[in-house]
């Protein structure tokens, strides 16, 4: 292992992106994500890559899709308002299956909200922000170390499954400085390239893998990319059979791979009567509360969905019959999902929406209240 370093979360994202082989960044300044852009502006020209500051987040999202089509790994980073502006082109990347990573360092909202304060209120926007039925992957770091490692993994998932991956951070994690130990060895995944000559290449082939090979623009495979519903050649079609086949593959393409996509952290769950569910900055407070509660003899555990979308339902369903407390900085966006799985009676909520962190004491007080019932 390399020497430990003191690093900021946003900085760790930039370092992770470079380690993953990112050679293109397009973005627009927005608090609390801007350090990522600043770092990439400084580093990319040194490694033969390109940084471009676009006129807005719509253009930023468009530019990274364009760059990715030429074969480069491409990144953008933003916060809530910019994430809203990216949604149409995010959906374009989903439909055209162009790998890329979008970092959303969440802040208080809606609208301009609290630019320098934390929130976790874009959980549902990450899942359903763009229109139409679609798959998405979103992952949530809760340490600076994870900002680094999960950025690499975000690119691996994007490349492997040809899908935009959202790194759903929050202001606390983005601006936190703590120790990181950069791993010496990383697994780096690159997109599958066609192994057939151009004449036989189907850019949207519907084979058993459900993930078509992707040729670079400019490498001799001349194909068409469109956000219209398209056939296996990539050409637009309104035919119901073509549409059905395309939509089925698109919406189900992650299903065979869920075990590899869904990452969770499970802490002291075996005997837990009460399972805390938390992610990002809230997971840190939940973890602290768990340790104190255990010290007091309370049987509390923590289930942390690192992959928040697709939600790791199978991993959580093992704990049916227990009580759950969902700790999150919104009005219960993930809690609704947990209630969908276990019903309302099994699920308690702890929410905060005033731009202040949920403290370990608040979690502990809530644990006390729930456990005494």
């Amino acid at each position: 292992m390399s020497n430990p370093k003191l690093m900021q979360g946003n900085e760790a994202v930039a370092e992770g992106a470079l380690a993953a082989g990112v050679l293109f960044y397009a973005g627009y300044p927005i608090t609390p994500s801007t350090e990522i852009a600043e770092k990439m502006a400084e580093r990319l020209p040194l490694v033969g890559g390109s940084f471009i500051q676009m006129e807005d987040e719509i253009g930023s999202m468009a530019a990274i899709i364009g760059a990715s089509l030429t074969g480069l790994k491409a990144l953008t980073a933003t916060s809530g308002p910019g994430f809203s502006l990216m949604q149409e082109n995010l959906g374009y990347a989903v439909a055209t299956e162009v790998p890329c990573v979008v970092v959303n360092v969440q802040r208080g909202g809606p609208s301009t909200g609290l630019p320098t304060s934390p929130a976790q209120a874009d959980v549902m926007q990450a899942r359903w922000g763009t229109h139409g039925d679609h798959p998405i992957i979103a992952i949530t770091p809760s340490t600076v170390q994870e900002c680094y490692v999960l950025t690499v993994i975000a690119f691996n998932l994007a490349e492997e499954y040809r899908i935009p991956v959202i790194l759903l951070m929050d202001e606390v994690i983005g601006h936190l400085r703590e120790k990181v130990v950069l791993p010496d060895q990383l697994t780096i995944v690159n997109r599958k390239k066609p192994d057939v000559p151009p004449g036989e290449y189907l850019p949207y082939e519907n084979d058993d893998s459900m993930i078509p090979a992707m040729a670079n623009f400019g490498d001799g495979y001349r194909y068409h990319v469109t956000g219209l519903t398209h056939n296996q050649k990539g050409l637009s079609s309104g035919n119901p059979e073509v549409t059905k086949s395309f939509m089925q593959r698109l919406t189900q393409k992650l299903n065979p791979y869920l075990d590899r996509i869904q990452m969770v952290e499970e802490v002291q769950l075996e005997d837990a009567d009460l399972i805390l569910i938390a992610y990002g900055c809230s997971a840190r407070s939940a973890m602290e509360a768990l340790h104190i509660a255990r010290g007091r003899g309370l049987k509390v555990g923590l289930f942390r969905p690192i992959t928040i979308w697709p939600f790791p339902q199978k991993q959580l369903e093992k704990y049916v019959g227990r009580k759950f407390l969902v700790v999150e900085m919104n009005t219960g966006q993930l809690a609704g999902e947990i209630e969908r799985i276990f019903g309302n009676k099994a699920v308690e909520r702890l929410n905060r929406i005033d731009g202040e962190l949920i403290t370990p004491k608040e979690v502990l007080d809530k644990i006390g209240g729930v456990c005494n019932v």
């Binding site: 293109f24 397009a26 040194l46 468009a62 364009g66 074969g71 374009y92 400019g218 068409h224 956000g227």
Partner: protein, 268 residues
């Protein structure tokens, strides 16, 4: 008529969706003839478009083609060109696409002077959605959203691009399609952001509402109102064709490459 350029088409995608009498087909052929004359490597040519009638063009062409979102062709093209400057990137947009929803991207692509060959096909109307007023619909003319005549004044799109920093601007029409081929060649050869306005006719959504009885009347209108530099304007609807402006300025991807080289020398 078509065999000379058939190699550049995905002929299995034809016939195209454009209405009888539409000018986009003629303009498509004029652009493709420019590529043929330039003898560009088909594998290195990228066509990027937005959304609308004009933006359907790349789907019929046998290049690397991308039909993006409404108004966003230029930032997609910017990403492609910045990532791989050796590619020849052509951008096809309509008038609503490039000057309404995509207006901001147009001025910023001009400002960066990034080496893209952009073509705005101006048919004065939103054709795909059935004839609504666009920022290039002339004053007083009718669309479905200006049923009593357009109260607004149109952009002069080439003046806009010039003021924002574009280094080449030219105009032709579907009628003057041989001139259009020549201008697209010149635009490609300009090492910077180039904009060609190709005036087209939309007989179905624009002509019918604005006293043009046939597509041929619209082509005649193009012929009669176009003038070349140095000729006198006879009528307020007259417009200049040919090269409108040309200048030199640093090109974005070349400047970025210089930065990389400079940093390499510093770190050495």
């Amino acid at each position: 008529m078509f065999n000379d350029i058939a190699q550049y088409f995905r002929t299995d995608t034809l016939p195209h969706i454009w209405c009888p009498g539409c000018g986009i087909g003629t303009i498509t052929a004029a652009i493709v003839r420019a590529i043929k004359t330039l003898q560009l490597d088909q594998n290195k040519v990228i066509f990027v478009s937005g959304i609308g009638c004009s933006s359907r063009m790349p789907g019929y062409l046998d290049f690397n083609t991308i039909h993006t979102t409404h108004g966003r062709a230029l930032p997609f093209a910017t990403g492609i060109k910045a990532a791989r400057p050796e590619l020849d990137v052509f951008v096809i947009m309509g008038d609503g696409d490039s000057t309404a929803i995509g207006g901001n991207h147009l001025i910023h692509a001009s400002r960066r002077n990034i080496d893209l060959t952009a073509i705005v096909i101006n048919n004065s109307i939103y054709g795909m959605t059935g004839g609504q007023t666009s920022p290039l619909t002339p004053h007083d003319k009718r669309g479905t959203t200006s049923p009593f005549g357009n109260l607004e004044r149109p952009f002069q799109v080439l003046e806009l691009a010039k003021a924002a920093g574009a280094t080449y601007g030219a105009r032709a029409t579907a009628f003057h399609n041989q001139l259009l081929t020549k201008l697209v060649i010149d635009a490609y050869n300009n090492p910077g952001f180039s904009l060609v306005e190709a005036i087209s006719q939309c007989p179905v959504s624009y002509g019918r509402r604005n006293k043009f009885k046939t597509p041929a009347d619209m082509l005649l209108w193009q012929k009669e109102h176009a003038y070349k530099a140095g000729q006198r304007i006879g009528h307020e609807d007259d417009f200049q064709i040919g090269e409108i402006f040309s200048s030199q300025a640093p090109e974005y991807t070349k400047e970025y490459d210089k930065l990389r080289q400079r940093l390499k020398e510093v770190s050495r």
